[in-house]
């Protein structure tokens, strides 16, 4: 490199931050296998095959064997969980514990580039765990149609629509992250249970349905199932996609703001 200083190209600096995250992950990916691969597979096994054996295919399961009906929703649930956990403690820790973000922004990397890289990193983690789950679950016959690959980008979007808000929260809290526990228990878990994962929300009382409509998970579930099994008109699909994109953009903008506030010198 020439001795005359020259700012790094924006794309290159995003790439550098990503490479940093990847270097860590390359060494420690084994630690994530239990939570991001084995847990969803066991969940699918217990609920899809075990509990599913008690459920006769019918209109509720779109006339499909229960495990086939459940499998795409578990993909979306997994994506949301991975996105949320990757955006919570790791982000808080980079501000608070190892203070990596301060080190990074002390170089020519700007705050915007850092936020972009962190966002892309979460997306990458979600894609990787989603594909791994898809591959193994297919071996057990939980997926029947190759169109399920279309459900991957959908589930990533649903994950980011939730994860970006967690990222904004992580950039805001200054304690040891107690807020995450509450968000996981009072938002993530109920969302995973009620937003159309196990059955269409028409099984639930009418008053509770709007609560499901608000969650990114429900839109993700609808889209992921439609991607594999068909039956959705373009306008409805566009509506779901628009909502997820809007949520993602909103969360990302808020996270960006919080990053700027916290990294201000």
């Amino acid at each position: 490199m020439a001795s005359v200083g020259r700012a790094v190209h924006p794309v290159a600096s995003v790439g550098l931050v990503l490479e940093n995250l990847w270097t860590w992950y390359r060494r420690n990916w084994r630690a994530t296998v239990v939570s991001s691969l084995l847990t969803p597979l066991m969940f699918l096994g217990a609920m899809g095959f075990g509990l599913g054996s008690q459920i006769r295919p019918g209109p509720v399961t779109a006339n499909l064997p229960y495990v086939v009906y459940l499998a795409p929703a578990v993909l979306v649930m997994l994506s949301t969980q991975v996105a949320a956990s990757e955006s919570s403690f790791p982000v808080l820790g980079s501000f608070k514990w190892d203070q990596r973000y301060f080190a990074i922004t002390a170089t020519p990397v700007s705050v915007d580039q850092l936020v972009t890289a962190q966002f892309l990193w979460v997306a990458l983690r979600v894609v990787l765990s989603g594909l791994a789950y898809l591959a193994v679950a297919s071996l057990f016959g939980a997926f029947t149609d190759v169109r399920v690959l279309l459900a991957v980008p959908v589930s990533v979007l649903a994950g980011l629509a939730f994860g970006t808000w967690v990222m904004a929260l992580a950039a805001t809290v200054s304690d040891e992250g107690n807020a995450f526990g509450n968000v996981f228990r009072f938002v993530l878990v109920p969302m995973s249970l009620f937003a159309g994962t196990f059955y269409p929300i028409t099984q639930l009382p009418v008053w509770s349905r709007p609560l499901a409509w608000v969650t990114p998970l429900w839109h993700g579930n609808e889209l992921a199932r439609a991607a594999e099994f068909g039956h959705m008109d373009a306008l409805t699909a566009a509506g779901h996609l628009a909502y997820l994109l809007l949520l993602t953009a909103g969360g990302l903008l808020l996270a960006r703001r919080r990053f700027h506030v916290r990294l201000k010198v």
Binding site: S53, Q54, I55, N182, P190, L193
Partner: protein, 269 residues
């Protein structure tokens, strides 16, 4: 200073000073700040109960109680969730929280610099965990009763049974916590706890499995906790309930013995 306090400061420390309640008091004071997270323990099993019991009600047909009479799916899954949440709470408290205090916060080193002995610490921590578990179980049982999912006065024994299950898992969990080297080892705990929660007939009858797997499932502690609870809340109580309870007594004795031995070695040398 009281005479008792003075005596405790002068005589050489044993492993038990009879002051376990000071440890319980400490836990209560610490958790006052974070009551929402403590209270949230009540909700998780309830979310599952509503999602599975209510939502699936129309899709899944009747199940059978331990004595063979038909019961609704909600009445079937509720005792399973009660036992499973006793396990989850006890394991979380006795592994994650204990390890944090043992290795990082060094709370126990500080405690042992006072008249408290390792036995006080073990008893106090277990009592706190059981106190919490008892509140959760009582809340869950109250909701079950309100939903009409309790079929017999035997269910009154479900509360002590939940404490027994929690005590058993806490004793073994604490023993495991003293063996852990780093946070990575929690994956191993999760790897035991997660399949047990999912596959120990919490959500569906054991008849789903082929014979060989059935025997395997019947060896798991949670299976016995769930069977015990299911007998009590459906009123189909038989002599086998004593056998299920004995499994947990054995866990308490073995886990308690191992934990006290390990804690003494870890903290007093």
């Amino acid at each position: 200073m009281t005479t008792q306090g003075l005596v405790l400061r002068i005589v050489p420390v044993g492993s038990y000073a009879g002051r376990a309640r000071a440890v319980v008091e400490r836990s209560a004071l610490v958790n006052r700040r974070n009551w929402l997270l403590v209270a949230s323990g009540v909700f998780e099993p309830l979310f599952y109960l509503f999602a599975l019991g209510i939502g699936f009600g129309a899709i899944i047909g009747n199940q059978t109680a331990p004595d063979g009479h038909p019961i609704s799916y909600a009445a079937y899954v509720a005792p399973g969730l009660l036992a499973a949440s006793a396990m989850n709470g006890a394991v979380h408290d006795s592994t994650f929280n204990i390890f944090l205090k043992l290795k990082y916060a060094r709370v126990y080193d500080a405690m042992l610099a006072t008249p408290l002995g390792p036995m006080d610490v073990a008893l106090g921590e277990t009592s706190w965990a059981l106190l919490r578990g008892g509140i959760y179980a009582a809340g869950f049982l109250a909701v079950m009763a309100a939903l009409g999912l309790i079929a017999s006065p035997w269910a009154l024994l479900a509360l002590p049974a939940a404490l027994l299950v929690a005590f058993g898992f806490a004793a073994v969990g604490m023993g495991a916590a003293t063996l852990m080297r780093s946070w990575q080892d929690f994956d191993l705990i999760l790897l035991v706890q997660m399949p047990m929660f999912l596959f120990s007939t919490t959500f569906y009858p054991i008849t789903v499995y082929p014979e060989a797997i059935r025997v395997l499932v019947q060896c798991l502690p949670l299976y016995h906790g769930i069977e015990l609870m299911r007998q009590l809340t459906t009123g189909a109580v038989g002599w086998s309930a004593l056998g299920h309870a004995a499994y947990f007594l054995a866990m308490i004795v073995a886990g308690g013995w191992f934990t006290t031995r390990r804690l003494g070695r870890l903290l007093l040398t």
